[in-house]
């Protein structure tokens, strides 16, 4: 036990004396969560639009006022003719143009006739779609409130409610994802690099020749990273709660247990990678290409798994991050108990046991 403590102490010297790993350990989580929280966002805010108001009557003016009043749009320009629309888009200053027909007010009373046109810059289709929907809803709302008119009879009036994320804050979606990526990065990449570093500089040989058991060596390498990963997880949760006001609906107990489980899964992946690579560079490349990319792309973090082609959906099943994201979304956003995510937990446990077994076996082969 004393030898083990000495080992862990040495490991912390390595970590705290290496500026690069310190940065990855503590800079990355904060930078990532702030980036994803503030910069990358699915919401639209302050979108510049232009208006082509050929009607110039009471109704059109009221709608324009409503558009201006919403926090989503800035009316940047008033166009005079259709010809100017394309130029406006080409200049790239506006993302959408709203045009009103000459007989807008008269036609407003008759359903089925086009009264208002929304033209969007679809170089980014998602944003274009969202803008269209937002403008639509402002117009429909105006119709209902100011004209006391029912929506056109052929339309089904749907009323939507967003569960678990009522304000559609994209940071809610990113926090579980970022947490997953960070834990994966810190646990798998950092451990694999730190183990291969010992191989590269030759100290691993000395350790293997020493009376230390290989299992003690591995445990000594891994324990500091479990500790640091947990600290990272706590920092991420604190940031999301206090900076982004994200509520944690479920139990913190399960959140910690599941995070710990995922950390161990990632660590066993890290050990496995270190048995496969003999240089730090290889370990880093395998971690980045083999772990980070699938974790970001195939885990459902950014792209929904349901809309992937079937083969990719199958691959996503073997990505541990997918299951962890489902679990922490359930805990953080839905606030459900263990009975709702025991299956996913079981899958992670089985994966972890398999990976640990495999890496221990690999190590033994290397020693034989």
């Amino acid at each position: 036990m004393k030898k083990f403590i000495g080992f862990v102490k040495k490991e912390f010297y390595h970590i705290f004396r290496d500026k690069r790993s310190l940065f990855i350990l503590f800079g990355m989580p904060v930078a990532q969560i702030l980036l994803f929280g503030f910069a990358i966002s699915n919401e639209i805010n302050n979108v510049d639009i232009a208006i082509l108001d050929k009607a110039d009557d009471k109704n059109s003016k009221e709608i324009i006022v409503n558009l201006k009043a919403s926090k989503y749009f800035n009316v940047l320009d008033y166009l005079q003719s259709e010809k100017e629309i394309e130029t406006a888009f080409q200049k790239g200053k506006v993302k959408a143009v709203v045009t009103f027909d000459q007989d807008f007010a008269r036609n407003l009373q008759r359903p089925k006739t086009s009264k208002l046109q929304i033209i969007t810059d679809a170089t980014n289709p998602n944003v274009a779609n969202t803008i269209t929907n937002y403008i639509n809803s402002i117009v429909v709302k105006y119709q209902m409130v100011n004209l006391q008119q029912d929506p056109p009879p052929q339309l089904v009036q749907s009323e939507s409610r967003m569960f678990f994320n009522p304000a559609l804050e994209s940071v809610y979606m990113f926090v579980p994802g970022v947490m997953t990526v960070i834990l994966m990065l810190v646990s798998a990449m950092m451990t694999s690099i730190s183990i291969t570093r010992e191989k590269e500089v030759g100290t691993m040989e000395i350790l293997l020749v020493s009376p230390l058991k290989p299992s003690t060596v591995i445990a000594g390498k891994v324990v500091p990273y479990i500790f640091l990963s947990l600290i990272n997880a706590i920092v991420i949760v604190l940031l999301s709660v206090f900076v982004f006001q994200m509520p944690i609906m479920g139990s913190l107990f399960w959140l910690s247990i599941e995070s710990l489980l995922f950390i161990v899964t990632s660590l066993s992946l890290g050990i496995l990678i270190s048995t496969l690579s003999s240089t730090q560079q290889t370990a880093m490349m395998i971690s980045l290409m083999g772990l980070m990319l699938p974790t970001i792309l195939l885990s459902g973090f950014i792209f929904p798994i349901e809309s992937m082609p079937y083969p990719l959906q199958l691959i996503s099943h073997i990505i541990p991050a997918k299951w962890f994201i489902i679990i922490i979304k359930s805990i953080m956003l839905k606030g459900v108990g263990f009975s709702f995510f025991w299956k996913e937990t079981l899958i992670l446990v089985v994966m972890t046991i398999f990976l640990l077994g495999l890496s221990i076996k690999k190590y033994k082969i290397r020693l034989a």
Binding site: V201, G202, E205, I206, S210
Partner: protein
Amino acid sequence: METTIKATNLTKSFGDFTAVDKLNFEVEKGEIFGFLGANGAGKTTAMKMLIGISKPTAGDAMVANYKVSTQADLVKKNIGYMSQKFALYDDLNIKENIQFFGGIYGLNAKTLQQKYQQVVENLGLENYVKQLVKNLPLGLKQKLAFSVALLHQPKVVFLDEPTGGVDPITRRQFWELIYEAADRGTTIFVTTHYMDEAEYCDRISMMVDGKIKALDTPKALKKEFGAETLNEVFLNLAR
């Protein structure tokens, strides 16, 4: 004399390939034993078996009175090892390295402190105690690595090409440390590519294709092969 290493038909094969073929030799206490051979001759494989990190396919060896095949853990406790790569932690200082490496052999804090002062004094490292090991000159690093390998007073020290990349003067100084250790009764088992180094050994063995082709004192070997230098002996055998 007491025997500290005794190999009996020590063999290692990987599939059909026999890397080490029935080695038989003995090394006595306090002896400096040179283990020579071309690259790929099986030196490293043989050494790995002797230090207990690789199991023999057949035969066995006694190292410090323990069998490498079944008592590898006890063998490891009683040997020291230094490899061709400089193998201390660069980002730790001298004291931290000594504490760590001594600690994994179970030395207590008091002994470690004593050893630390002793090493600093012997090697004249006073000016470097506050620095990380990466800032030490290569020659000093190697001497320090050797002293670290001796911390737990092992019966045998295995040196795997210990002086690679070092100038002749430093190499000479390094060998003085080796002689001192041997005089205190530590057995030295050293692999090398430098023939001048081989001359310093009490006895040398030359390995070719997994077998020991010659084993004797440098002087006797030169006489046996009618050669002026060990280099000629080596070239004769390896061809």
